[in-house]
C-alpha cells in the first residue's frame, strides 16, 4: 500500500506532463506543419533563428535546462516566452520566423540591438500639420495688418481734414462767396465740403472776393493708409502740410517776386522755381534786420520789395508762427517749377500768373490730432491779410529824390563836379528785370525760332505750289 501512493501520484502527474508534452507536441505538430510549409526554408530559418537565440540568450536569466533537451522549436518557444517576460517587443515564434524569412537581407544589414536607434525626422513637406505652413500664415497676417492699417489711416486722415475744415469754415465763409466747388455742378453753388482727391489729399476751392480770383487750399496729409509709408516715416519723420495758392488778377498785384521761409525751403525753392531762380539771383538773406528767427531766410528781387512786404503785422505773424511756416512765395511771374526740356529750350516763355503761395506745416510732426488744426487758424488770417496788402502795395515809381526826366539831364552835365548817383525807382527796376529775362530767353531760343520760321515759309511755298497745280488741272479739264 505504501508503494501504491507514489504510484498513484505518478499516475496523476503523468497526464499533466503528458499535457505539457501534449502542448509541446502541439507545438511540435504546429512546428512540423510550419516546417512542412516552409520546409525549404527550414535550414535558413533555423540558422537565422539561432541568431536571436544567441543574442537573446545572454539576456535570459534562466532557461530551464530540461527544455533545452527538447526540440529546438520547443527550446525556441521557451526562450521566446522568457523573452516575453523580459522584453515587450517580442513576437511569437512563428512571427519571428516569418520576420526573419521576410527580412533576411535586412537583418544582416540592419544594426544590431546594441546600436542606438536613429529617429529620422520626416521632411516638412511630407508632414501634414498646420505648423509647417507657418510662412503662409505669416503672409496672411501681414496682409491683414496692412488692411487694418489702411482703414485706421484713412479714417484718421478724414478726421483731420474735417477738423481743419470745421475750424476754418467760418473765416472762409465770411471772406469768400463760394466755398467748396468741384467744378462739375452746373451752377456755382458752394458745396460746403472738401474734395477728396486721395486717401491723403483733400482740396478746397474758394472764390468770389475782392482782390483775388480764387484760392485753392490743398491739405496734403501723410500717407497714413499705406503701411510701407508708415514704416518709412519711423526712420524719417515728416509733417502734414497745408498748401494754399491764391491766384490774382492783373490789377491785384504789382510786379515783384518775393519769398520768405525756412532756410532749407528757400534754398530748395530757389533751385526749383522758375521765377525765383531768374529774378532772385542772390542767396537767401537772413531776416535778422526784422528780428526774424535765425532759421528763416528771405529771397527778394529788390530791397524795396522786402521793406514793403515786411511790415510790422507781417513780421508779427512770422515770428509767432515761425515753426509752422515752411515757405511764403509772392510772385507776379509764377509759372511753377522749372521744366526739364529734353530738346533744347522751350520755344516760348512759360505762361505766368500772379500768385501767392503759402506752405504751412501742421504741428505735431506726423502725430497730429484734430485739435492741432486750430493752431493753423491764425495763419489763414495771415493769408487774408496778405491778399489785401498785396493789392495795396505799389512799388515806388519815382526815381528817389529826382524825377526821371531831370535825371537824364543832370547826368549829361557834370555841373557839380561830382558824379551823380541816380537810382531808378523800384518800379522801373522791376520792369527792367522782366525785360532782361525776356531778352535772355529770346536770345537763347533765337536759333530755334529761326529754324521754325524757315520751316513755316517752306510749308507755305509748298501749299502755294499745290494750289497752282490744282488750278492748272482744273483749267486743263
Amino acid at each position: 500500500q505504501m508503494l501504491l501512493l507514489p504510484f498513484m501520484l505518478l499516475l496523476l502527474a503523468s497526464p499533466m506532463t503528458w499535457g505539457r508534452y501534449d502542448d509541446f507536441d502541439d507545438g511540435e505538430d504546429l512546428a512540423e506543419f510550419d516546417d512542412n510549409d516552409f520546409a525549404e526554408f527550414e535550414d535558413l530559418s533555423e540558422d537565422a533563428g539561432m541568431e536571436p537565440e544567441a543574442t537573446a540568450s545572454p539576456r535570459v536569466a534562466a532557461a530551464p535546462a530540461s527544455d533545452q533537451d527538447d526540440d529546438d522549436d520547443e527550446a525556441v518557444v521557451e526562450i521566446e516566452d522568457a523573452q516575453d517576460d523580459f522584453e515587450d517587443t517580442e513576437t511569437p515564434d512563428e512571427d519571428i520566423k516569418y520576420d526573419t524569412e521576410e527580412f533576411e537581407g535586412f537583418e544582416k544589414s540592419s544594426p544590431s540591438f546594441k546600436d542606438p536607434i536613429n529617429i529620422i525626422t520626416v521632411p516638412s513637406h511630407l508632414q501634414n500639420s498646420w505648423e509647417s505652413y507657418y510662412m503662409e500664415i505669416l503672409m496672411v497676417t501681414g496682409l491683414l495688418a496692412y488692411i487694418m492699417n489702411y482703414i485706421i489711416g484713412k479714417n484718421k486722415n478724414h478726421r483731420l481734414a474735417q477738423a481743419w475744415f470745421s475750424s476754418h469754415r467760418e473765416l472762409l465763409e465770411s471772406n469768400f462767396a463760394l466755398v467748396g466747388d468741384d467744378g462739375t455742378s452746373k451752377e456755382a453753388v458752394s458745396t460746403g465740403k472738401l474734395n477728396q482727391e486721395n486717401e491723403h489729399i483733400y482740396n478746397l476751392w474758394c472764390s468770389g472776393r475782392v482782390c483775388c480770383e480764387g484760392m485753392l487750399i490743398q491739405l496734403k496729409f501723410l500717407k497714413r493708409q499705406d503701411l510701407l509709408n508708415v514704416l518709412a516715416r519711423m526712420m524719417r519723420p515728416v509733417c502734414d502740410q497745408v498748401q494754399i495758392k491764391v491766384t490774382l488778377n492783373d490789377e491785384d498785384m504789382d510786379t515783384f517776386v518775393f519769398a520768405v521761409g525756412s532756410r532749407k525751403a528757400m534754398a530748395r525753392l530757389q533751385k526749383e522755381m522758375q521765377d525765383l531762380s531768374e529774378f532772385c539771383s542772390d542767396k537767401p538773406k537772413s531776416g535778422a534786420k526784422y528780428s526774424l528767427p535765425e532759421f528763416m531766410a528771405i529771397l527778394s528781387e529788390m530791397g524795396e520789395v522786402t521793406d514793403g512786404m515786411m511790415d510790422s503785422k507781417m513780421v508779427h505773424y512770422l515770428i509767432n508762427h515761425a515753426d509752422k511756416i515752411e515757405s511764403i512765395h509772392f510772385s507776379d511771374q509764377f509759372s511753377g517749377p522749372k521744366l526739364m526740356q529734353e530738346e533744347g529750350q522751350p520755344l516760348k516763355l512759360p505762361e505766368t500768373k500772379k500768385t501767392l503761395l503759402f506752405t504751412f506745416n501742421v504741428p505735431g510732426m506726423g502725430n497730429t490730432s484734430p485739435k492741432d488744426m486750430d493752431a493753423l487758424l491764425p495763419l489763414m488770417n495771415m493769408v487774408i491779410y496778405s491778399i489785401d496788402k498785396v493789392k495795396k502795395f505799389r512799388l515806388n515809381r519815382e526815381v528817389s529824390g529826382v524825377s526821371s526826366t531831370h535825371a537824364i539831364v543832370l547826368i549829361g552835365c557834370r555841373v557839380f563836379g561830382a558824379s551823380l548817383y541816380v537810382s531808378l525807382g523800384a518800379s522801373q527796376k522791376a520792369d527792367k528785370n522782366r525785360a532782361r529775362v525776356e531778352e535772355n530767353f529770346l536770345k537763347q531760343t533765337h536759333a530755334q525760332r529761326q529754324e521754325e520760321a524757315a520751316q513755316r515759309r517752306e510749308q507755305k511755298k509748298l501749299e502755294k505750289k499745290q494750289m497752282k497745280m490744282k488750278q492748272i488741272k482744273v483749267k486743263a479739264m
Partner: protein, 106 residues
C-alpha cells in the same frame, strides 16, 4: 460802430469755377507710386505663375494692395481690380499645383 467798418469782401460777381489742375503742365507733381506698384505686381504675378514660385505670387498680392492704397480717386478701378485678381490667381495656382508649404529662403 466797428460792425460796418470792415466791408464785406465777398463778391458774388467775381466767382470763378474750379478747374482741376491739368497734369500735362506739372508731370513732376504726380505721385508715380501706384503705377509702379501696379506694374511690379503684374510682373511678379506672371513670374509666380510661369516659374511656379510661391513667394513671387505673395509679393504680387502685396504690390497690388500697396498700389490700391496709394491710388488716386480719379484712377480706373478696373485696372486696380484686374491687377488684384491676377495676383490672387497667381497665389491660388501656385498652391493648386504644389500644395506643400512655402520654404523660407534662408
Amino acid at each position: 460802430m466797428f460792425s460796418n467798418s470792415m466791408a464785406d469782401p465777398r463778391r458774388q460777381n467775381k466767382i470763378l469755377r474750379y478747374k482741376p489742375p491739368s497734369t500735362d503742365t506739372n508731370p513732376t507733381l504726380e505721385d508715380p507710386t501706384p503705377d509702379y506698384m501696379n506694374l511690379l505686381g503684374m510682373i511678379f504675378s506672371m513670374c509666380g505663375l510661369m516659374l511656379k514660385l510661391k513667394w513671387c505670387a505673395w509679393i504680387a498680392v502685396y504690390c497690388s494692395f500697396i498700389s490700391f492704397a496709394n491710388s488716386r480717386s480719379s484712377e480706373d478701378t478696373k485696372q486696380m481690380m484686374s491687377s488684384f485678381m491676377l495676383s490672387i490667381s497667381a497665389v491660388v495656382m501656385s498652391y493648386l499645383q504644389n500644395p506643400q508649404p512655402m520654404s523660407p529662403p534662408w
